[in-house]
């Protein structure tokens, strides 16, 4: 029986997100010949948005003046009203700030399972299986979703590099108008607030000294700053350090912080939660220092040191200074 795999399209800052593209790749990979992959766009399709949407069999644009506003509650309700649950096998949503609201709401409105933190999705005979990464990436769970309708929240980076056979034909393009009664106005988008930019721009830095929970106290940031100075780099951090107010949000690396691609990323006392890795995995050289030899950061680092960062930093600083003097 033919069923639909639906992908709500996230548009952020005028562009379809990479995560939406990943959802479409995942949808293509699990779709059987008779299934249909349908992308749902809230508002107009952005310029340059077509390449990602080529992965869909059908693209439905939902239109009225409001639908492009990032209001997950209204968009989730709209999706539920436009989609027939019985004909839908899967709703694939990216695990972004927007998707973390849309996906669970769709699952709850329909009363169907929500599979969150999914890093793998495959079809085994008639059944869909998902692999979920939880506990900051330390634990995996294999879940048999079965053939029932489900919503899956996909982690970033899970499918981006997977290859799919290009479709031979262009997707069917459709437009559906949305009445004002169909738009849940209980949550309203007001405005974007840009971060204050008087601080350094870590996305432009070639060398980043990143600190995590292992730095323990704000006063200890000084050792990281001293090392950054010797290296000619900049200090940044993972979410716990920013949440404590020890560094400004503009220095946060990760999903809701900055995406960085420096020449050197020195991760100190950072466990390597998926949300953090998303922001630094493309650095040219990643060196991690952590006391826990099982820390997930060692899965993405090129070089690792199992040690207390407070022992390694002074020694590294000394070695760098000695090297500079020799030169």
């Amino acid at each position: 029986m033919s069923r639909r795999i639906a992908v709500p399209v996230e548009v952020y800052r005028g562009q379809i997100t990479d995560l939406t593209r990943e959802c479409l790749i995942a949808a293509r990979l699990v779709a059987r010949d008779e299934d249909e992959v349908v992308a749902y766009v809230f508002g107009e399709i952005p310029d340059h948005g077509n390449s990602a949407l080529q992965l869909a069999d059908r693209v439905v644009t939902l239109e009225n003046g409001q639908v492009s506003q990032p209001v997950a509650l209204a968009q989730a309700k709209l999706l539920c009203s436009k989609l027939d649950r019985k004909d839908t096998e899967l709703v694939l949503v990216g695990s972004s700030s927007w998707g973390l609201d849309v996906g669970p709401l769709v699952a709850a409105f329909w009363g169907v399972p929500l599979v969150a933190n999914c890093q793998g999705l495959e079809r085994r005979q008639a059944s869909l299986w998902a692999t979920c990464r939880i506990c900051a990436g330390k634990l995996l769970v294999d879940v048999e979703v079965g053939a029932q309708t489900a919503v899956v929240l996909l982690l970033p980076g899970s499918f981006l590099r997977k290859e799919v056979t290009p479709r031979a034909t262009q997707p069917v393009m459709e437009k559906e108008s949305v009445s004002s009664q169909e738009w849940d106005a209980r949550v309203r988008f007001q405005r974007w607030i840009e971060p204050q930019r008087e601080d350094v721009d870590i996305t432009q830095a070639e060398i980043l000294v990143a600190v995590g929970r292992g730095i323990e106290r704000q006063e200890n940031l000084e050792v990281a700053e001293e090392l950054a100075e010797v290296l000619g780099g900049v200090v940044c951090g993972s979410r716990p350090v920013v949440d404590q107010g020890w560094l400004p949000p503009t220095r946060q690396v990760g999903k809701s912080g900055m995406i960085v691609k420096p020449k050197l990323y020195l991760a100190m006392g950072i466990s390597g939660a998926p949300e953090h890795v998303e922001g630094m995995k493309d650095a040219e050289l990643i060196v991690a220092i952590n006391r826990d030899e099982r820390a997930p950061i060692f899965h993405v680092a090129h070089y690792g040191i199992v040690a207390d960062l407070f022992d390694v930093i002074p020694a590294l600083k000394e070695a760098l200074v000695a090297r500079r003097q020799e030169a």
Partner: protein, 257 residues
């Protein structure tokens, strides 16, 4: 305004995680538990609402593990009311159990706003905060960094986090559930002496939780520690030795000139 804060215990991710021999769950008896970090931030945000807008703050938690210590801490920080839901089960409630139980309780409490962490590290089948909002048919915004009063009396401003440290200002009509990622300020410190004093003075209201549990919404086939698919080349030796090796690597890669 009456605000309800939901707090949960989750595995302490600093400690090693232990899986059962059958690989069907975490070994909860061997798992150290701590307050879910984003719930801690939700508690802080509720306390800020109390200070700024005279909100009355109620904390609710499931009676699992050493939750009493968390509740005494909340009492020491100044919450007005504490409710404990009985939970006579061997593992903590999952997201759907939390959402379903709270959907029964919340209408009896006369609260207009529920704040809780927008996610917890063990969530993979369900997410409690948005699913509670849907069950109550209340407004919902998640991944929020801070709340403020709106010029409209029946609404609040929620600041939702987006990539690049960008915030979206959202106006949320009450009643609402808000999934907090980070409070407007770091969770406050409370001295141990005040927690001890709170433990002497605080009385919890008890509410009965579900005795029978439903089957999970999808079949959990295997739970296991993440295998290393790729691994860093490890530098070994004394601090001085690894520092020297690292400097050589940085020179070789052209990072040090």
């Amino acid at each position: 305004m009456n605000v309800l804060v939901v707090v949960r215990l989750v595995p302490d991710l600093v400690e090693p995680l232990v899986v059962t021999p059958q690989e069907d769950n975490l070994d909860w008896e061997e798992t150290a538990l701590v307050l879910n970090e984003s719930d801690d931030h939700a508690l802080e945000e509720a306390l800020l609402l109390k200070e700024k807008y005279q909100a009355r703050v109620t904390v609710v938690a499931f009676d699992f593990g050493e939750i009493d210590q968390v509740l005494y801490m909340a009492a020491a920080k100044g919450v007005d009311r504490i409710i404990k839901i009985s939970w006579p089960h061997r593992e903590p409630p999952n997201s759907l159990e939390i959402a379903e139980t709270l959907a029964q309780l919340v209408p009896t409490l006369k609260v207009e706003l529920v704040v809780m962490g927008c996610q917890s590290p063990t969530e993979f089948l369900g997410m409690a905060a948005p699913q509670l909002a849907a069950a109550l048919d209340w407004s919902y915004v998640g991944v929020v960094r801070g709340l403020e009063a709106s010029e409209h009396p029946e609404a609040w401003k929620a600041y939702k986090e987006y990539p690049g440290a960008v915030l979206a200002e959202m106006e949320v009509q009450l009643p609402a559930v808000v999934g907090i990622l980070t409070a407007s300020q770091p969770p406050r410190y409370v001295p141990v002496s005040r927690i001890r004093a709170a433990a002497q003075q605080t009385r919890f209201e008890m509410v009965e939780g579900p005795r029978e549990l439903k089957e999970p919404s999808a079949a959990i086939r295997r739970v296991y520690l993440t295998p290393a698919t790729a691994h860093a080349t490890m530098l070994r030796g004394s601090e001085e030795e690894v520092a020297r090796q690292l400097v050589e690597i940085l020179l070789e890669k052209g990072i040090l000139k």
